[in-house]
């Protein structure tokens, strides 16, 4: 699935979910996303970085520079308190949507 095919806002939700476990840098988020979706979601840097920027501007994620496991410097994104609230909201609404959509699909 190409990024354009992703529902708008979904990417933000996924990133929030990933950094909710532990702070993560951009590259790591991308890898994690690929692994978790079994390679189904191939997010390009062109959508990743704007999304990170958006999360940070909204105050949902906070970035800080740290060393990576390979001793490089990278910007780690950690979820904030308001980020967690947003995540909860988004998860709830996502679940509601999927339930609704699958009901329609099965019922039709």
């Amino acid at each position: 699935v190409q990024p354009k095919g992703l529902l708008q806002g979904t990417l933000d939700l996924l990133i929030l979910r990933i950094i909710a476990r532990e702070p993560m840098h951009g590259w790591g988020i991308m890898q994690r996303l690929r692994v978790l979706t079994d390679g189904l979601f191939q997010v390009t840097p062109g959508s990743l970085f704007p999304a990170l920027q958006r999360l940070e501007d909204n105050g949902w994620a906070a970035g800080s520079w740290n060393a990576t496991e390979h001793n490089r410097r990278a910007k780690y994104y950690a979820i904030t308190r308001s980020g967690r609230k947003q995540l909860a909201r988004e998860e709830a609404s996502w679940k509601a949507i999927t339930v609704a959509v699958s009901k329609v699909l099965e019922g039709a």
Binding site: G26, W27, Q31, P45, S47, P50, D57, H70, R72, A74
Partner: protein, 886 residues
């Protein structure tokens, strides 16, 4: 959510480069991680870098993507504020002369309204510059020195009581002594007011108790003029014609107590004073815990010990500061309103220019939209351009206003400049007003262009072939409304200006009742410290003698105190007549004390009886026609007596002269004037029972007015030619240079009475002139646009057989409709507003048909002239040419 976004936006606006660097670093770190991962997966170093870069999809595009998602991106769609400002400046540069015109116009209008505001602020809104002004009271009492000391001891009532008195100090200069308004004050005045000298120290009791105090506190401006800086002035010596004064303190700039003109404060020297302190004002500050009523009650209870006199009385009333007369308040409001009208007209004009510019650039807008600029970004740029224009205008206006304020102060009559407790200047309040008005101008002026930008649509413009065809109907409609407003405002201001002009002309043309051509008054001010009573009388006599011998002097006479039309002793008395009747005067009665030659000098011939003779006793009086009619109606007044109230001396009428115009006549009811016989004292004779402060014999008609610490006298001179007036000053100074002399043609004195009206007239007329030009330019502009937008239609009409004449008529017709509508609205508003300026007018009614007619005709004609060019262009449209283009 909006708060973090705002914070991010602000952070990025403040540090645009830091945000950019951070993104750079992050992307590079990402790239390195990616390359390393690929190498670990077995790629060669080169291969890893190449594929990683490829996947990244180009650094610049990536950065652009990120910026699009940044906070505020949708709002302005550009990387940062600097970029937008550059865009806006480019847009403004592209405006060329129209941009310069817009900025200048806005700046003039903003500066004009700021000046009107600061004058209103200083004179009308009585902002009191002293702490806790509601605790300040005026203490009214006929006080003697001991009583004043007693009052000061009532520390449970007052935290301070002080007295002050007007005086003059003659400062020594290279040429002649310079009289400077001075206040004699008791030590403690500054503490009572709550404002101390900023440099040096205030007065202490020791300053006063010395027999002749030689210390002074001066105004910051005076200190700067004389000693370079206020700080340097402390300890220096001011040379005066009397005795040198040591400067012990300098007041902060803007300190204006008790009057704006006062620049020197000297310790009150009781030895110098008359036992009953004429013109003394007492000011007290109440104890914080006491109410006005309680204070009053306590003082009344202690009256016997306070004044030690049965008839003594002490009143305290709240102190008021800088109250303007209703007339002046109205004038200032009119000026402020006129300035705001001008601002509105300027706004309308700039809005119209901006809109025209916007329409011209419609093509650019659409192309930018087609290339992906959001509607928001176009609006943002339009607003930024407006903001840049407004900022330029505000900066220019601030400069104009501060220069204008000092010009205004030198242009205004002293009576206005020194009237308020606050100086007329561009202070922070005026600056706030300026910026507020500037912001308003920005909103108004950029609104149409913003609305236009927000409505522009790609298809509409790209479908049509060029910018000319793209002139939208909406744009033309807005411009018509704007032009209508401009014409209406111009008509309003012109009506106001013309009414003021006619008022001023009417005031100047009022008959004075005297032959004032070639008459000058020489006013002498003699400081009491320098001249004794007989010394003053002697000086006036000597100068009169010298001037009478001067070849150009035809006739000379003397007036005690102020000469006509000045405010001499004026009262609204109960007049007692010899037959026991009393008459309550509706108008006021002004009394001038004159020598017999006054009537010759002023060309006043009696219409009944005779004028004074040098052998006459002092109990005679010459009255004006007005007073005669009032007192005795038609009965012959000669030989009858009257007195101005009980206790006044009886006087007998010897003659009647025609009505003489004085300051009291200009507005309000008629004023009756009486001339009492002033017998000039002979030099060297001492005259007992004379009030201190006035030179010469008290006038028999009234008890002498209270004197001041300086004394004045006037000599009226009829010259063979006014050009000799300049030489009189030299003659007077050669007799004695220790007094102040002013020579002024009497016509100028009369004209000066109307200085305020003249000022209002010239300001409103200037505003009206600018508004008029704006309106005419507006009509020209809108008609040009109308003709441009209808070129095709005109071409078709002409192809169908319409002649040049018809086309011209059509253009003139549409212009005329617009103008007449504007004139009608302007006239209606002017008539509606006229009752507010009615009290300002003289000799003309606010709905004067001639004024309204002339203004309508002039505006209509000028606007039709402005239509001439567009109409002619329309008539020259070549149908073949127009249709071929399509």
């Amino acid at each position: 959510m909006w708060w973090p976004r705002c914070r991010a936006l602000v952070r990025r606006l403040l540090h645009p480069r830091a945000a950019e660097r951070a993104l750079d670093a992050e992307v590079h770190a990402y790239l390195e991680q990616d390359i390393e991962a690929r190498r670990r997966a077995g790629m060669s170093a080169e291969e890893a870098r190449r594929t990683a870069l490829l996947d990244l999809g180009g650094l610049d595009q990536l950065k652009a993507c990120v910026k699009d998602s940044q906070a505020g991106a949708r709002l302005y769609g550009f990387p940062n504020l600097g970029h937008d400002v550059r865009w806006a400046i480019r847009g403004i540069r592209g405006r060329g002369w129209s941009g310069v015109l817009s900025v200048t116009l806005m700046a003039i209008a903003i500066a004009a309204s700021t000046l009107a505001f600061s004058a209103t602020d200083a004179l009308l809104l009585s902002r009191v510059p002293y702490p806790e002004p509601d605790r300040l009271v005026t203490v009214r009492s006929m006080v003697q020195q001991s009583a004043f000391e007693n009052l000061r001891r009532q520390t449970d009532v007052f935290s301070g009581v002080s007295a002050h008195q007007p005086a003059l100090t003659f400062l020594t200069t290279a040429t002649e002594p310079e009289p400077v308004d001075t206040a004699y004050v008791t030590p403690g005045l500054f503490e009572t007011l709550g404002i101390l000298p900023r440099w040096g120290r205030p007065f202490v009791d020791a300053d006063r108790l010395s027999v002749s105090p030689t210390v002074a506190i001066v105004d910051a401006g005076l200190a700067r003029e004389r000693f370079g800086s206020p700080a340097a002035a402390v300890g220096k010596v001011l040379a005066t014609s009397d005795r040198p004064l040591t400067v012990i303190g300098v007041m902060p700039p803007g300190f204006r107590y008790p009057a704006g003109a006062v620049r020197i404060w000297r310790a009150l020297d009781f030895e110098q004073l008359h036992p009953t302190f004429p013109n003394m004002t007492m000011i007290g500050r109440l104890e914080p815990s006491i109410s006005l009523e309680n204070a009053s009650a306590r003082l009344t209870a202690r009256l016997p010990e306070l004044v030690r006199k049965d008839s003594g009385k002490v009143d305290i009333i709240p102190r008021t500061f800088g109250q303007s007369s209703e007339e002046r308040a109205t004038m200032l409001r009119v000026l402020l309103a006129a300035a705001l009208c001008l601002v509105l007209a300027a706004c309308a004009n700039v809005a119209s220019l901006e809109l025209a510019g916007g329409i011209r650039r419609a093509g650019v807008l659409s192309i930018r939209m087609a290339l992906g600029a959001s509607r928001g970004s176009l609006i943002w740029v339009a607003m930024m351009e407006g903001a840049c224009l407004a900022a330029l205008a505000i900066a220019l206006a601030a400069g104009l206003a501060s220069v204008g304020a000092s010009m205004l102060v030198s242009f205004l009559p002293d009576t206005i400049v020194f009237a308020g407790v606050n100086p007329i200047d561009v202070d922070w309040r005026a600056l706030t007003f300026l910026i507020g008005i500037g912001a308003g101008v920005w909103l108004f002026a950029s609104l149409p262009a913003v609305v236009y930008a927000s409505r522009s649509n790609v298809l509409g413009v790209l479908k049509s072939q060029g910018p000319r065809a793209s002139v939208s109907r909406a744009g033309a409609w807005v411009r018509r409304v704007v032009t209508l407003t401009e014409v209406a405002l111009a008509v309003m201001l012109l009506v106001g200006g013309l009414l003021y002009l006619r008022t001023y002309a009417a005031l100047l043309n009022v008959e004075t009742g005297m032959d004032t051509d070639n008459v000058v008054s020489l006013r002498m001010t003699m400081p009491l410290e320098t001249f004794s009573d007989s010394g003053r009388a002697d000086l006036v006599n000597r100068i009169e003698a010298r001037l009478t011998a001067f070849p150009a002097v035809v006739s000379a006479s003397r007036v005690l105190g102020t000469a006509p039309p000045g405010n001499a002793y004026t009262m609204r008395p109960v007049v007692e007549l010899e037959d026991g009747r009393t008459a309550r005067e509706e108008a006021s009665i002004t009394v001038y004390s004159v020598t017999p030659s006054f009537f010759t000098t002023m060309g006043l011939a009696p219409i009944r009886g005779r004028v004074f003779d040098s052998a006459d006793p002092g109990s005679l009086v010459v009255i004006t026609d007005t007073l005669w009619r009032f007192l005795w109606a038609d009965a012959d007044p000669i030989g009858r007596s009257f007195r101005l109230g009980q206790g006044m001396p009886w006087t007998t009428v010897v003659g009647v002269v025609p009505h003489v115009r004085t300051n009291r006549d200009d507005r309000g009811g008629p004023n009756a004037t009486a001339f009492s016989y002033f017998q000039a004292p002979r030099s060297g004779t001492s005259q007992p029972a004379r009030p201190r402060g006035e030179e010469g014999e008290p006038t028999p008609l009234v008890n002498a007015p209270t004197g001041t610490l300086f004394s004045s006298s006037s000599i009226l001179l009829r010259l063979s030619d006014l050009s000799f007036a300049g030489e009189l000053l030299g003659v007077a100074r050669s007799v004695d240079s220790r007094a102040r002399y002013t020579v002024e043609p009497l016509d100028a004195t009369y004209a000066l009475r109307h200085a305020e009206t003249r000022m209002a007239t010239s300001i409103v007329t200037a505003f009206a002139g600018i508004a008029f030009l704006i309106a005419i330019a507006g009509v020209f502009g809108v008609m040009t646009v109308v003709v441009n937008s209808r070129t095709r239609e005109i071409g078709i009409r002409m192809a169908l057989g319409a002649g040049a004449q018809e086309v011209r008529r059509m253009v003139f017709g549409s212009s005329l409709r617009l103008i007449l509508a504007g004139v009608a609205i302007g006239l209606a508003t002017a008539v509606g507003a006229s009752r507010y300026i009615e009290s300002q007018l003289f000799g003309v009614t606010p709905t004067d048909p001639l004024t309204l007619g002339v203004v309508s005709a002039v505006v209509t004609m000028a606007a039709m002239l402005a239509t001439w060019h567009p109409a002619t262009r329309a008539a020259r449209v070549d149908p073949a040419e127009t249709l071929r283009v399509e």
